[in-house]
Subunit: 213 residues, 2 copies
């Protein structure tokens, strides 16, 4: 099975990549610079692919950043909120329709390369805030990809209904060194801030905190 | 009703734009440079929007062109085929997943601007060759946009089941000067070649040829 894997450089997609490598998938990885403040995650994506000898492209989408500018992940005038990942104030971190944009490009790439599917590491912890991480969205978009391509490209989103803690467990079993190979903090500073939603969620998951979902 | 209209600069999307203006929609138009050989269509899109005083952005997507490079509309080593638009050899003109990519960006833009929908001028003549112009694709992607955004952005594709001849009839009633305001030829030369699929189809439609579908 041949798959284009969307790789942010964070915990979830890095785990999915390693998980699929261990299962024998033939993989090309795709990362996106959409103007995120934490674009240093892309260096981690690159490092992982270099070590795993996986073909990796980083696509510069900053030409569309101005169209999606209300998100605090992009807009320099809007502060990245602090608190729990699933809290209401985290909505400002949503980049409008980001997942569909990345998946659409990856599906086009899969069609061009005659690959079978596109993999994405959305998970249950994303569901509260991010509508484009929910199962019904993934299913509708997978159908659109299947109908819109000659090669009937589908989505592969095996973590949709498990939590980040479950993902961390998979990663630990695979021996992933999360500190060295992944970056989460939305602020993208020198060190992780420990206070933004994704820092809080990462720390919960890695400490094996009780599942919230 | 507020709508983002995808405008190529060809007959179909220019007609849709004028049609929606006449119906009172509040519109922003979006065009894409994805490395197409006939990028001169974008000058026509710009001219139309200037005359109609519609806000218009041309998005440079040439960063993703290499991912979609097998299409004859993009690849300098693959000739644009000649013949009828619906003939089998026209398949080389398909740009992998192009419509989903453009629609995904437009849906993100609509979400950012708190607009209601995204309009696209796919039509029945496209169905034979282009899978991402068919009704079932449009419906699946519209559902994905609805589910993936807070503003429940849908697609508006009113020409999906009518022919280009029908579209030309609408445009003639609206008084559109197609020669001055639109460009179709896939080869993008000084003058339309008259032989590529979209030239043949345009000439049929404008001469009121019998409907083929």
């Amino acid at each position: 099975m041949k798959s284009i894997v969307i790789l942010s450089g964070g915990m979830d997609s890095t785990t999915l990549l390693c998980d699929m490598v261990s299962k024998g998938y033939e993989i090309k990885a795709l990362s996106f610079n959409y103007g995120q403040k934490h674009k240093k995650e892309l260096e981690y994506a690159k490092k992982t692919c270099t070590e795993l000898k996986i073909e990796h492209k980083i696509i510069d989408l900053t030409n569309i950043t101005s169209l999606l500018s209300n998100s605090s992940l992009i807009n320099p005038d809007v502060k990245v909120p602090e608190g729990h990942y699933a809290a209401e104030n985290m909505k400002s971190t949503v980049v409008p329709n980001r997942n569909m944009i990345m998946l659409a490009i990856a599906i086009g790439y899969a069609e061009n390369e005659k690959y079978d599917n596109v993999a994405i590491a959305n998970h249950a912890g994303d569901h509260t805030i991010y509508p484009d991480c929910r199962d019904e969205f993934i299913q509708a978009l997978s159908l659109a990809g299947y109908l819109g391509t000659f090669n009937k490209i589908k989505l592969y989103a095996p973590y949709t209904n498990i939590t980040k803690t479950d993902i961390a467990e998979i990663g630990v079993k695979l021996g992933i060194d999360y500190d060295r190979l992944t970056w989460s903090c939305y602020k993208g500073g020198e060190e992780p801030c420990g206070k933004c939603g994704t820092c809080v969620e990462r720390n919960e998951a890695l400490s094996g905190a009780p599942k919230r979902i």
